[in-house]
Amino acid sequence: MTSPLAPSPGTGASACGCPEYTSLALSRRALLGSALVAGGAISLGGSTRAYAVGASSSASSSARRSPTGAVLVVLSLRGAADGLSLVVPHGDPVYYAARPRIAIPHAALLVPDAMFGLHPAMAPLTDLWTSGRLAAVHATGMATPNRSHFAAMEAVEDAAPGSRERNGWLNRLLGELPGSSPLQGTAMGGQIPTSLFGAQPAFVVDRVNGAKVAGADADGRRLAALRHAWSGRTPMDRAVRDALTGAQSFGAARDLPAGQPATAYPDSDLGRALSDVSRIIRAQVGADVITLDQGDWDMHTDLGTVEWGDLQRNAGDLAGSLAAFFADLGALGEQVTLVTISEFGRRVRENDSYGTDHGFGNVMLVAGGGVRGGSYYGRWPGLSDTSDADLLVTTDYRSVLSEVITRRFGVSTASVFPSFAPTPVGVMV
């Protein structure tokens, strides 16, 4: 355009007489945690869209790292995974009595000790396990059972029972770390998960390649217009500003090609998401905390047996994706610690549909830098075989998370998990 930019950015906002919209108060957090919503079957090839105007400004990414260089990846197994199938308590005879059809035979288990062994579909993870970079903590969970998916996700990710404040534990962790870039807390997917929701800014990205402002021009007019339009205080105002800031520094990740590890990523939502997480970490755009999800764990029917079923499929995807991720990171994997969390576990006894109903205790996997791998942690409470029986919780999941963040980020957990006194787990160096 030949005309000069008429109003100077910043002067219009205060003079503007419009908008009741700005009075919309920041309100209750989303009831829901996030879910990886992108349809698995259909995707839009980026090549089909070419825009006529402008080249995207290659943003100056000021690479910054947390003081320790650590990155925490939190993988949520949405739907409540059956921890008794993932890390099987073969030494507890009740396990086999309560699950006549779906129990995993002892002989099929991987890396067994006297009590536990991994589901055979987790074979891609045996290298990480035997090289001491992967561990499991069993019988973990919240202090009291909550069998509602939605209420439990909320409570797990709030991680501050009794508090009415609207901020998740990862958002509070970000508050303890230096820096104020929205990229420090990045969620893969479409929505901000409860764990990242709060006062600290956060970035959300569905696919790395899409994290840019369409039509952004070299003259900066489009960005100036957007900043002017969204200078208010609503959640969307904030989201737009975080998007503009984040997309600008995200260029390095977009420019970095996807890794081609020797152990290939599975062709799955989780595989694609972890490949993108690897790009974000390798590009060093300043992510301290990254969240992502794997869905479809709510197996009321057709969890299946060792030979068939949804559990075998999902566990195989999980194991293959994690193996590829750490292969992709290479030596950088030493800086990255990944933890899995599921909102609750399943009942001990199987139901009549080759599945299990909502239970309580579960297993957490901890992988990567700083992990004392190759071992099973936690105190086994023993199972009982009644229709109501749960795996009881002997380790509060916050104890596991406390150990990870104190050892990796060197911060106190007093504000991350208010009024909680963690007990030692031993899973971290």
Partner: protein, 482 residues
């Protein structure tokens, strides 16, 4: 203006009502509203006599996706023999809904169909339930402005719901708790208002409803599978001695539909969707009273909702969700979508646009259905994706098949127009309101034009930069929110 007269906009209060209960206020819809005698009269007609307005163009699009009329077994056989996958048919279903929403002149019925279909959610993705999913949507559509105590049993005992939440194979031997629990938490009483014993009894009541999975896909009732014996759930008590448990199911669902906690839960969701996130408790209480006093009829609740001061004060405070964003953008730009001939045709491709922004219709992967709050959709990823879709439609760059976009020159009279008047004309057409000062400043930032600058058809803005102006309007809070 190429299209001559400036759009005559409805008064603010009328704009609010029609915008909130439609898929975007266009000049054509405003004409319908005026013809009905104003927004209030229009709304009454929409609630009580929707068939008063002819809706041929919306009905017509159903024929664009003939697989939607196939039965469960037919769909399944075609899926197995790889003639056409179930997920492709479900893509058609979502596309049909998007195109219907763009065209319909009965938006209140359409919106309420969408509302209940999200609350009584059966995702369109799923290996098994896709066979019955179109019929499920039709079932809900038939009750969308009726009574909840009739809608609830129709939905809960529908094969699609039975399949999705594991009730289709649940038996008395070890009843599957999936549907029994979500019925209490998501469809009726709400979280925190039931016990684990309620869940078990709820699951027992629902045993016997069966679908012949993977074979004939026929629905039946199998008395041998029904758990008998006394059941007690949330104030409902029944001896349940008859192996045919259909009667006890009906009584149970009727009890739940009339339960005060259900009234509260349902009215909270209605108020969150149609008034604002975090609606005042007093409003929800009033609506719940109306609901119970009218035997779970939906229309009186909606009438009370729009008559409330809370509703009147909520103009512009709801964020559009991904599908609403896509549909409103097509409507605002007056994009003419024709019968599709390939996957790239706009009638089909708009599904990917909704997915890109965050969610295709009814594709939410969890049983709690597409969220009706704002926070879920106020994320940086959504912001970037919305800008992306607005940008490509503003420029007419994608999709390009079987679609016609309005030419930039049609916005500008032959003799030219001042930039600020042009912005006002665009605002009236796209947003159905005069340009605010903020919008004018935003547009000036985006284009570099001065407010009094004269714009003629050979101005650079018209020749190649018009998408900047349209996108600035579509990316603004006035379009993203409604």
């Amino acid at each position: 203006m190429g299209r001559e007269r400036l759009v005559d906009v409805l008064p603010g209060r009328e704009r609010h009502l029609v915008t909130r209960f439609s898929y975007g206020l266009t000049p054509a819809l405003a004409a319908d509203v005026r013809k009905a005698g104003g927004a209030q009269a229009w709304f009454e007609d929409q609630l009580t006599a929707p068939t008063k307005v002819a809706d041929g163009p919306a009905e017509q699009v159903r024929g664009w996706w003939p697989d939607l009329d196939r039965g469960p077994l037919d769909l399944w056989k075609r899926n197995v023999s790889e003639v056409r996958g179930g997920w492709e048919v479900m893509g058609d279903y979502s596309r049909w809904l998007l195109n219907r929403r763009i065209r319909t002149r009965r938006p209140v019925h359409e919106k309420m169909t969408e509302f209940w279909e999200a609350m009584l959610h059966v995702p369109v993705s799923g290996d098994a339930q896709f066979t019955w999913r179109v019929d499920y949507g039709e079932t809900i559509r038939g009750h969308a402005l009726g009574r909840f105590d009739q809608l609830l049993p129709a939905a809960i005992t529908h094969p699609a719901m039975l399949i999705f939440l594991s009730a289709a194979t649940s038996t008395k031997k070890a009843p599957n708790e999936n549907l029994g629990r979500e019925l209490l938490e998501l469809h009726t009483l709400g979280v925190g208002n039931y016990t684990e014993d309620d869940v078990k009894a709820s699951a027992r009541i629902l045993t016997g409803w069966n679908v012949d999975l993977w074979e004939s896909w026929k629905a039946s009732y199998v008395s041998d599978d029904h758990w008998t014996g006394r059941v007690e759930v949330a104030g409902f008590s029944h001896r349940n001695k008859d192996p045919d448990g259909r009667a006890v199911t009906r009584e149970y669902l009727r009890h739940l539909a009339h339960h005060p906690r259900t009234a509260h839960h349902l009215c909270l969701r209605l108020a969150t969707k149609f008034v604002r996130q975090d609606p005042p408790a007093a409003l929800v209480r009033r609506l719940a009273k109306v609901y119970l006093a009218h035997d779970t009829a939906i229309v009186p609740v909606l009438q009370a909702l729009v008559a409330s001061k809370e509703f009147r004060a909520s103009a512009g405070k709801k964020l559009r969700d991904p599908s609403e964003d896509v549909v409103a953008t097509y409507r605002a730009l007056g994009v003419e979508v024709r019968r599709p001939h390939s996957g790239e045709s706009s009638a089909n491709a708009m599904l990917w646009q909704a997915e890109n922004i965050g969610l295709a219709p009814h594709a939410w992967p969890r049983p709690d259905g597409s969220p009706v709050d704002d926070d879920t959709w106020a994320s940086p990823a959504r912001a970037l994706a919305s800008m992306d879709v607005h940008w490509s439609l503003s420029g007419g760059w994608w999709p390009t098949q079987d679609v016609t976009y309005r030419m930039a020159a049609s916005w500008v009279p032959k003799k030219g127009i001042k930039f600020r008047d042009l912005v006002d004309a665009v605002s009236r057409e796209l947003l159905h309101q005069p340009a605010s000062k903020r919008l004018l400043v935003t547009a000036a930032h985006a284009t570099g034009c001065r407010p009094k600058e004269k714009i003629t058809r050979d101005h650079e803005l018209v020749k190649w930069a018009f998408p900047r102006l349209l996108a600035a309007v579509l990316d603004s809070p006035d379009h993203l929110a409604c």
